[in-house]
Symmetry: C2
Subunit: 188 residues, 2 copies
DNA sequence: TGTACATCAGTGAACGCGCGTTCACTGATGTAC
DNA sequence: TGTACATCAGTGAACGCGCGTTCACTGATGTAC
């Protein structure tokens, strides 16, 4: 958990490989070659290849959520949502490796396997998403936004953002369309 | 291309493995075991493992589009859209293997590799999607739907459907939310 | 009608590579007494 | 202050497995003459 030069070198290398060649490009041997950290040391810190990806997942999710949180202040809801979309897509644009962690690493097996680590990852994810849910709920009860169940906020209302991120639709025009769509779905 | 008992047996087995264990579960050895078709025969018909997945992609996409096309008739746009969402999610529910082909098979490498086969697959995809785009465009010019650029229709306007499909949000409540969101984004 | 040849679906043993992982080890840094 | 031991980060050679793929082959079905 605690950041360490070695630990960071491994994660940085994994992130770079992820950005270049996707999840399949992240092999222990390539991390070793790129980071200069021995394979044994990788196992010492992360336990397995999946452990590396899981650590990345937690970090990246926290990073993204921290970025998004900056968009949610007390401006009019419409402005905040516009800003949220802009920040999200900018983050994807600027951090292709991190975006690949969230959008391209297959997690079903990992998450469903129910190991302690993966449970913690899911838990962390919930915790991190909480502020966003809270902001939206507050605006909903204030009548500024349409009432939407919590569980639908991220996967359905924000779906255009996720889908645009996944398909690499990161242009200004795409951002415009995404923002319009999300706002249309939230408008009271 | 032409359907053949052997060919079908391979694709059926691959589909079943896909539904059970995802893309990683689709190995030549397991297809051989499940279908009874020898590995050599698989290579005779499909050329490679990727060839099998590519053939599945073309078939599944055509299947889904044919299903969706039934929703697009001359009823009021709102009803058609509601129906479109319902049929899409029902299809995912009923064909987990096929849904996995569209939503979980990593295609970047394949599609970007630019082989003749993959080019054809992409082309087929465009062709198959055409009716849907045409229907929406007609309703847009008729003033029944908001004007949205063609390229944004599938990835952004229909994003809630795709995201729900990907995350397995297939309940009646989820369907409700997805339909509401898509309609909100399309309403004139 | 018979013969020779080409084509194509299908077989299954074998290969080689790359992968994640293991393990015995080194060396540095506390910690107890 | 010195000694003995425990702990922990880090090393790198080695292993074994599973994978996609190859290839020499069989047998059936056209096709030409």
């Amino acid at each position: 958990m605690a950041p360490t030069p070695t630990r960071d070198a491994v994660l940085d290398a994994a992130l770079q490989l992820l950005a270049e060649d996707g999840p399949g490009g992240v092999t222990i041997a390539r991390i070793t070659g790129l980071s200069g950290v021995s394979n044994g040391s990788i196992y010492h810190h992360f336990g397995s290849r999946e452990g590396v990806l899981l650590a990345l997942l937690v970090d990246c999710f926290a990073d993204l959520v921290a970025t998004l949180a900056q968009a949610l202040d007390d401006r009019p809801a419409r402005e905040c949502i516009r800003d949220l979309v802009a920040r999200h897509l900018a983050w994807v644009r600027e951090h292709p490796g991190k975006a690949a962690v969230l959008y391209r690493v297959p997690l079903d097996a990992t998450v469903l396997s129910g190991t302690a680590d993966s449970q913690r990852a899911v838990h962390t994810k919930d915790l991190a998403a909480a502020p966003l849910v809270r902001w939206m709920r507050a605006r909903q009860t204030a009548g500024e936004l349409r009432s939407v169940p919590d569980w639908a906020l991220d996967p359905i209302v924000l779906a255009p953002v996720h889908e645009a991120a996944r398909r690499g639709l990161l242009s200004a025009e795409a951002e415009e369309q995404v923002a319009a769509m999300v706002w249309a779905g939230l408008e009271a």
